[in-house]
């Protein structure tokens, strides 16, 4: 195994089970609609604005929470990694010459988040393993995120795998 991947593995294993919480803010119909518009979902736009006008609850697009990569205000451009990722989106790899690829995802929906709800995301590295692929070694990270509403209700749980490769 390379020294770089060894370092990624050591950092990741040191973080396994360490949960970090992040305030996602208060969900807004505007954000739901922009997300739906990027998916060309005209039906959602009409329905959500009609529900809002009628004073009804407006539920987010089903995968809105899972699809949003970051809830931070930043970072500003000069703080991004060369590949454009923010440091936080790149767990265990800060300062290391690695590439990352999204391996896959599981999303379990518990309760539809509605506009006006303040949401918290709790996130942890849950596993870190060295694997051997056709093109060489890589580290496979498991990351779990749990979204909850201000009343404690679980809205969604998400498991992701991230493939960390050496270079460039």
């Amino acid at each position: 195994m390379s020294a770089v991947l060894d370092e990624v593995l050591a950092r990741a294993r040191g973080l396994v089970g360490e949960w970090e919480s992040e305030d996602c803010g208060v969900l807004a119909v505007k954000d739901f609609c922009r997300y739906a518009a990027a998916l060309n979902d005209v039906g959602y736009l009409r329905r959500a604005r009609a529900q809002e006008a009628a004073g009804d609850e407006v539920a987010a697009p089903a995968l809105f929470l899972a699809g949003t990569m970051s809830w931070q205000d930043g970072p500003v451009e000069h703080e991004l990694r060369p590949d454009g990722l923010a440091v936080r989106e790149s767990p265990c790899t800060e300062g290391l010459p690695v590439r990352q690829v999204h391996g896959g995802q599981t999303v379990r929906l518990r309760q539809a988040p509605v506009a006006g709800t303040r949401v918290t995301a709790a996130r942890a590295v849950t596993s870190a393993d060295l694997r051997q692929g056709r093109t060489g070694d890589f580290v496979l990270l498991g990351v779990t995120t749990r979204f909850t509403a201000q009343d404690g209700a679980e809205l969604m749980a998400m498991d992701e795998t991230i493939v960390v490769l050496e270079g460039p």
Binding site: D31, R34, Y35, A37, A38, L39, N40, D41, A62, L63, A66, G67, T68, M69, S70, W71, Q72, L80, D83, G84, L85, A86, R99, V101, H102, G103, G104, Q105, T106, V107, R108, L109
Partner: protein
């Protein structure tokens, strides 16, 4: 969908492409600043022939096409997928789905679909499972 779903039932496939504009807009709304999704020069430097479709956009496609097939009253319970090959903007893609199981649940029905997004040459970009449910009295997802 016509009639009750049954294991082995093949859903009508759906063909589509993602435009570069859609990939940029989806990156923007999801606050995903990875350059492979909107910077063609950077994507080329990583060996890709175009800007790369986001994994989460594939997840949206897997679940949304399944809900389209299911029709009114269906709700998404879960979706999972594994990324197998890269897709780029403008590339012809096809959603496929097959019913793996259909079983009663909480006064309704739960259906599990094997789903995939497939490239023009038949190579799968993503493969996964979508779980949908219908419950009595629910008229819209």
């Amino acid at each position: 969908m016509s009639g009750a779903p049954a294991a082995g039932q093949v859903c009508p496939s759906r063909s589509y492409t993602h435009s570069p504009v859609q990939l940029f807009r989806f990156s923007a709304v999801s606050w995903n600043s990875h350059r492979i999704h909107y910077d063609a020069g950077y994507a080329a430097s990583e060996g890709f022939p175009g800007v790369v479709v986001q994994s989460t956009l594939h997840g949206e496609t897997l679940s949304r096409r399944a809900l389209d097939w299911a029709g009114p009253g269906a709700a998404l319970e879960s979706v999972s997928w594994r990324n197998r090959a890269t897709a780029v903007a403008g590339e012809p893609l096809t959603w496929t789905g097959t019913v793996r199981a259909a079983e009663p649940c909480d006064g309704g029905t739960r259906v599990t679909l094997d789903v995939a997004v497939v490239k023009g040459d038949g190579v799968p970009c993503v493969t996964g499972l979508v779980e949908l449910s219908w419950r009595a009295g629910r008229t819209s997802p």
